[in-house]
Amino acid sequence: MKKTQFIEVLHNFKKQFVTFISIVLFVVFAMGSFIGLTWSSEAIGKTVDGYFREGNFLDYEISSAYGLNDSDVEFIKSLDDFEEAEPRYVCYDFVEKDNTKYQLRIESLGERINTPTYVDGSLPTKEDEMVIDKVFAENAGFKVGDTVDIIFDASDNNESYFTYLKHLDYDFDKFAMQYNQINQEHLKSTTFTITGIIKTSEFISVFEDTYGVNPKTGCAINGIVYVDIDAFNENAFMGYSSIMAKSNDLKEIVCFDDEYSEEIENIKTKNKTKIEEHFHTKYERYISDIQDFQDGVSEKTAEIDMQIGMFGALSQTGILLTAKKNLLLEISEYYKSVLENDFEYKCSIDGRTSNTSFCAIKTILKAYGKLRYSLCALFVIVGTLVCYFAVSRNVFEQTKLLGTKKALGMTRKEIFASLGLFSLVSTLIGIILGTVVARFVVEPVLVNALNGSYGYNSVVYTFHIESVIIFAVIELFLIIGATYLASRAILKRSANSLLTGGTNNDFKEKKYMKTKIYKKSSLLTKTIINNLFHDKRRALATIVGILGIASLIVSSFSLNNFIKGSFKEQSNNVSFYDTLIYEDSSENKNTEIKDYLNDKNIEYSEIMSTYVIMNTPDDQHVASSLFVVDDSESFLNLFNIENKNKKIDKVNGYYSSISYSEEYKVKDGGNISLTDMQGQTHEVKIDAFFNYYLMQNQFIVDRATYEKDFNESFRPNSIILKKGAVSLDTLKTELKDFEGYINIKDFYSESKKSFDGFASVFSIVVGLYIVLAVVMAFIVINNLLTMFINEKKTELTVLMINGFYKKQAKRYIYFDTIFLTIVGLILGIILGVLMGNISLKAFKTASTYMISGINWIAILYGFLITCFLTFIVSLMNLAKINKFKLGDISK
């Protein structure tokens, strides 16, 4: 390119500033969304991984339904793949502050694994000291130095008879003396002093105050605290709750990389047999011990009877001896059933990949992955369209100039070189700015958005020049390609044709002109029809532009309304309850609550709410809620198990929320793998999948099936109340002092809050789509209309010279625009509905299901906003007709 030609291109940047800005902006948007999200995803992964490393977050957690002891810890340590192994206790109790009861998860502090980071204060050194999670401390208003009273949650007692197993090694007399303490507090002390505020790697909660649920009661956990391992009352447990382990082989791998997931599974598979064998040996020893115990029971009871006879049954010693004898018989009876049932003693090995915090982060990263492709595709498509029409307009407006250049001897290539250079430089500037935006805007914003509530210790940012180059090449190819396509037709024309400035007017009779409708049409209609048929490219481009605007708006509002509508649908047609009372039903402690509800005629259903892990075919482990139902009738009055095919009138078998079925294409009668709280995995046959819109998995099973499959007895722990039956405040006040009352959950408000939070994310999407629609309108449609009006300038001027009023002349433009808008709108609405439904799938996971289909409100918005935007752009362009100088006709 010659020097002067280059100078001319430089001048064009000023003259064609809007085109320049359009190209730059869209390249920046596309780069920012794709590279930014890619880097952010990696940066979040690395940042959280760093955070996990600082907290020595466990790689594995080994648990057993029958308790763990130090020999088990030593065994795990002895395995080659495990570098560290440490036991821990976990229990669930309550704490009250300012008349609010909080469900706590209380854990023993790790020394080398899961070590918290201290934000304030110091490590607890005594049995009555604790440290408290930062987010919970902030939410509940706890600070270092505060004293808290732990309220024992009796419903969280460990399976008593199994607890005895560990005592088989001990003096039974001593054990029997302590029997009364066994079902008592989990902790040695009930009053604790807060010595520190900490951050834990185990609960990076994405949704601020959610720490999961109490697996026994299904009650949501409000906070997490740590105490010294010695603060736990070991007699209340059958053993350690779990063993935390770390592996050498995983040290160097970023845990959100696929390699980590693969390696964690490899190590698990490799050691599974050894661990299972270890526990099987232990099981056999227990069985042997139980058998010995059973064998000696008759002898022991006879001996106790003799002693009672000696001391007298009513004496203090006699009473104690009677209790001892009853305990012996009770245990014996239980062991008898254990031996008859031929139970298998199993253990579970969960990798970090099963941790809910890990899964939440991984889900976000996966969502970013999906989002980056859809956003990038959107920006690239819209950007290429914008570039195409902006360049088309420029080329069109320079028709005579291009003709002059051709006439003066410049070749088509040389002319395209200057147009191409313009697009090239604009794109390159966009790429540079886009890279800066991706690295210094998108990445920090997204990484810190997750960091906001929790606060990583340090953030790791990412930058890869290779991804910039690859993306830059794609963008350049598209933009230069669009420039070529936009200028090709004009550059092909002869210099003379360009210089006369006229458009291609070789109009001939077409087939449609022979139709009766055409013949009967007015001249105005004929002219508009002819314009449309003659200038198909413009007509098609305008339709595509309007289609783009309408589809963006319809799809964005559809998405938004699907979310909001899903909650409404859930509330109106699925869950007819709004409150959940957590209760302790042991020893009929809940009688008072039920009497109260019956007296007040409040419709309710008592269920057992628990927690299972759903294992998906692609190795995801999703925490899910399980309702065990005893009274089918009362439950179905408050919970509608229904899908398109049928409505269930009796709970008999397993029922699952439909999201799994949608995600993995499983039909009624298909199987799902569920892992219970003891780590046992069950393949269950789902009788029916039902519509369920809350963003979590819900399983429902009848009592008999549950007890048979899970080998657990039915123990109701929750009561659901009919919507609007009673106010939450009244209920809190009335139930507060009832025996068996634990806590209350405002199910409706919490579900709504969760939906609103999710919907607010979509508000951003709606905003973004509307911005894109406006850009489409003001660049694509505006350029097309400008070109159309310029092309028709002479014709319109002639009409006005010959006596057409301006408004009459304008009809030639706006009737054309109205027709194209109608066609574009119809197609755009159809595409928008499809896009809305397809986009919804991008946000769907194994635990989310939302209403889909045709959303008429979104269509109405799409119609109105598209009409409004087209109207504004048309108005702007029609105003140009007012400025036509009729006298210029002869120039």
Binding site: K508, E509, V798, I801, N802, G803, F804, L886
Partner: protein, 401 residues
């Protein structure tokens, strides 16, 4: 012999030669007077002749349309001049001249005037005004006017040319002191610097002048396409100089037909539809097929513009201008883009249109075409340089270039 004498005799010779070479009486007068004006102290000159009971301008060299001016046969000064065959001089025109004489020049500034008797034929008497814008004529100058007038008269009589009068009709459009300027950045260009003329019913008027002299701008103004800065133009007595856009549209719609150099037909409509589109605007349009017949294109009624030759397109364009049955057709260089034969074809069509009583105003660069016109207004530097009347307009087929 002094240099001034040589110049004087040379001028006398030029007058004789130019009159001898003139083909028409009008040309003889025009050419003779031009030489006199160019070589004398006179700024303007007007030749008057008697029509019925008054004197009318026959030819004039001044920036003012005197077509409608007249002086009664009873005017004392004129009677004195003609009856006594004597030169009348007004050294101070404003002070000495009578009101009738003063009014005959409208707003034109005149400092002094010489009236010299001029006999068109033995029986047709007239006179010539020699006008000075500023200052007074000297006695020598007055004498020279008398001699030159006499010489012109003798030369014309010797050439045997006969007077053939153009019969003008009613004035339908009248322009008074029209001024128009354009601003381009900081530069203001005065395109029209005070234009005065009339358009008569049924006349073929040509605007002639070099590029940039303002003729197209003037056509746009009287066509209602552009607004003037000052002055006025009246159509049938109604002043449109301050008309609104809608009023101008109505004016164009009802009264004016346009023909453009580049035809500007609607490309998506057939010939007939192009006519119907405009015809539908007025209450009593001509029949589109009949109109196409006038321009000789009835067999091309269903052809699209792209299927017609340039000449045919321009004829459709003429038909389009004609279909509204307008009072005036304005044509801006309608043949500029056409070859000779096609131009003649188009001009013949225009000739036909004028013969049916429609006034035609045509802007042209082609001096030959002006020979078809009844009158020609020549512009120079934004002013009317001269207005000439063709007493013997040629037929289109007779034009040669």
């Amino acid at each position: 012999m002094e240099q001034s004498d040589i110049k004087y005799y040379k001028m006398l010779g030029e007058i004789q030669v130019s009159i001898k070479q003139s083909k028409t009486f009008y040309d003889a007068i025009k050419n003779g007077l031009k030489i006199v004006t160019m070589n004398s102290a006179s700024d303007y000159a007007v030749v008057w002749y008697k029509v019925n009971n008054s004197y009318k301008p026959y030819y004039w060299l001044m920036p003012y349309d005197l077509t409608s001016a007249s002086i009664s046969c009873d005017n004392n000064a004129i009677n004195d001049c003609i009856k006594n065959n004597k030169v009348i001089t007004y050294a101070d025109f404003i002070k000495d001249a009578d009101e009738e004489l003063k009014n005959s020049f409208g707003s034109l500034n005149i400092a002094s005037l010489v009236i010299a008797p001029f006999n068109f034929t033995k029986n047709e008497q007239g006179f010539i005004f020699y006008i000075k814008k500023e200052g007074k004529f000297s006695s020598d100058e007055v004498d020279s006017f008398q001699i030159l007038t006499l010489l012109t008269e003798i030369s014309i009589h010797d050439s045997n040319l006969t007077l053939n009068d153009w019969t003008k009709n009613k004035v339908i459009l009248s322009c008074k002191d029209i001024k128009k300027s354009f601003k381009n950045g900081d530069v203001i260009t005065n395109v029209l610097k005070g234009i005065n003329f009339n358009i008569y019913e049924g006349e073929f008027l040509c605007f002639l002048g070099e590029s940039g002299c303002g003729k197209s701008t003037l056509l746009n103004i009287i066509g209602g396409l552009e607004k003037l800065d000052s002055g006025s133009f009246e159509f049938y007595g109604k002043d449109y100089s301050k008309a609104s856009d809608d009023e101008l549209t109505k004016y164009r719609r009802d009264n004016i037909g346009f023909i453009f150099q580049s035809y500007n037909l609607m490309p998506n409509l057939t010939s007939k539809q192009n006519l119907d589109l405009i015809g539908e605007l007025v209450d009593n349009p001509l029949d589109s097929m009949e109109t196409l017949k006038i321009v000789g294109l009835e067999d091309k009624a269903n052809n699209y513009p792209s299927q017609l030759s340039g000449g045919q397109q321009q004829r459709v364009s003429i038909a389009r201008a004609l279909i509204k049955n307008p009072k005036i057709i304005m044509a801006d260089e309608p043949t500029a883009a056409l070859d000779y034969d096609t131009s003649i074809e188009v001009l013949t069509t225009m000739e036909k249109v004028v013969s049916k009583g429609t006034s035609l105003v045509m802007v042209t660069h082609n001096e030959e075409i002006t020979k078809m016109a009844d009158r020609v207004i020549r512009f120079r530097n934004g002013k009317v340089y001269e207005i000439t009347v063709n007493s013997n307009p040629l037929k289109a087929k007779d034009l040669v270039w």
